[in-house]
Subunit: 312 residues, 2 copies
């Protein structure tokens, strides 16, 4: 292997050296690369049973902003050397064609992520695609209402975190409540990125909840619950990382305390039967977000088939 | 059109009624639906020249958590009634096959987003896909190190927002600096979701910058800059939404003030030549994020071909 193949891994670049024997996936985009990364991630979920430490480690390499054929060809050649496959999103049809042909020539398996869906939409709409990558010269980025709304949602949500500014609960689109470490903060932020103003209110044994929580539209409040054993595991990890001394906050992750606090939460939820209660155990943040938004839109629109609709 | 076709739009559900004459895209997933939504979004970027108000409005409808064939068939039928196309991610090959056949039968155009990439990866790895949707019974969700790291990154980033806790700048992976409304906050949050601890430090004319900014590793600091006219537009919108009275903060969005503040920032950037300066004008948050991370990983690893590598 040549020197430049020894790249490093981990989304935060912890500096681990790439695993030898791992298969490589090259991901190429003329834009940010987030679409191809997202698709490859989802597909890799289908190989969970065999990735790292289970026999078939995979290294992914994301090349973004590739909008000229020279750099594209260098990447294809490098992929050939490394025995990698190539997955790409290239808006310019001649770039996509070059990628395909070069991969065929070098014997590299390749998959076009953008082309098939773009073609299908083109024939559905009866309109030709522009063929212009995002960020291409001449494309203007509109400071749309949606753009401002998303930024406002993020800023609102940050300010509201962890029960701050309870007087603003009425301004939130969605209010999350649950005991510590049910994932309220990351879930709030995930939803905020999608344009929803979110407030989260922690349930802490012995601490009174803000009155506002019971005054706002109960249809926008969501309770979060979790298995006590899993919660204890998460809290122990948390206590370690915060450096809680064993004495001061030992009850925070003690099983009896954990159970009791969850029971308190359960009673509050029972007293507010309109609030849906979402079980977060074993769910990734984006999975809980999907459940919240499904319920949110369903309640708002009450169509026969729950869906999230948008206009473009 | 039957009643349940009159669904509503807007990611925050503003209650606008769906546009008549708009073409529909049905998106179906056995999981969250974020992958299919992301792919369709990217592809719709290829039709910017003709969407709303330009002749071919599109309504998208996301159906998530569809893991039984009965609900799948209802959705396909509804798509047929509405003249929609169907785009899907279904991990179970028999579900994907059912979707395809039913669409063929009803004459609905359909595109499989997950299948092709999963098959390509399967033959590259020489391993069969599990065929199990995320969240399928029996699949366990690992409380992995990466999971905790992402949550920690989000919590760190929220606490550090807007120059708070400058004493913690050294703990950040990435430090962003720039004048107000260059998008530091949403960019920080976007990067935090990807697992990076981000701090952002506002540059405000007449306010001294924290010393820490000049003491941390300059390779992790990024300056943001923007066209003064665009910045003024954004600030005016901001001032309106915050309800600044014209007198108190009028200079905030006054052209002369805007220009001067950007010049102050420019001088600071010039004095710190190691900091890359990123032009955010006309860029979406995720585009700026891609630029930041490309530079970040490139500087960290100095490989011949800039890339972001991860291990699975
Ligand atoms: N708003 C947009 N306008 C045009 N093309 C886009 C847009 N968003 C994404 N794309 C294209 O879709 C693919 C995926 O984008 P990205 O996720 O930025 O890598 C790339 O080929 C982009 O050029
Ligand atoms: N971690 C995972 N394990 C198994 N399948 C997954 C995973 N993540 C996503 N998928 C599948 O990939 C497709 C897209 O997922 P989603 O973005 O949740 O709709 C769906 O068919 C999911 O079942
Ligand atoms: Mg929290
Ligand atoms: Mg800010």
């Amino acid at each position: 292997l040549s020197q430049d193949l020894i790249s490093v891994t981990g989304s935060v670049g912890d500096g681990e050296v790439e695993m030898r024997g791992a298969k490589s996936i090259y991901m190429v985009s003329d834009g940010t690369g987030w679409t191809v990364e997202h698709s490859v991630n989802a597909a890799l979920g289908q190989f969970d049973h065999c990735l790292v430490d289970r026999g078939c480690p995979v290294n992914t390499h994301l090349f973004s902003g590739i909008d000229d054929v020279e750099r594209l060809m260098e990447i294809v050649k490098q992929a050939a050397k490394e025995g990698a496959m190539l997955v790409y999103t290239l808006a310019d049809p001649s770039m996509a064609e070059s990628a395909k042909q070069a991969c065929n020539m070098w014997g590299i398996p390749s998959t076009d992520i953008l082309g098939p869906i773009t073609e299908a939409i083109a024939s559905h709409l009866g309109v030709s695609p522009s063929g212009l990558p995002r960020g291409a010269p001449g494309r203007s980025f509109p400071l749309s209402e949606e753009y401002f709304r998303r930024i406002e949602a993020i800023e609102f949500t940050i300010k509201q975190d962890d029960g701050a500014l309870p007087q603003n609960l009425y301004k939130a689109d969605i209010v999350l409540t649950g005991v510590s470490r049910t994932g309220k903060t990351p879930l709030s932020i995930y939803l905020a990125q999608k344009g929803y103003k979110v407030a989260n209110v922690p349930i802490v044994m012995g601490v009174e909840l803000p009155k506002g929580l019971f005054e706002v539209d109960p249809e926008k409040v969501f309770g979060l619950t979790i298995n006590p054993l899993v919660l204890q595991t998460i809290r122990k990890a948390r206590a370690r990382s915060l450096g809680f001394s064993e004495e001061t906050r030992s009850n925070y992750s003690e099983m009896e305390y954990v159970r009791e606090e969850l029971e308190v939460a359960g009673r509050i939820f029972a007293q507010n039967p309109v609030w849906p209660v979402i079980e977060v155990t074993g769910k990734a943040i984006e999975e809980t977000a999907a459940v919240v938004l499904r319920l949110y839109h369903d309640r708002k629109h009450r169509c026969t088939m729950p869906r999230i609709s948008k206009r473009y």
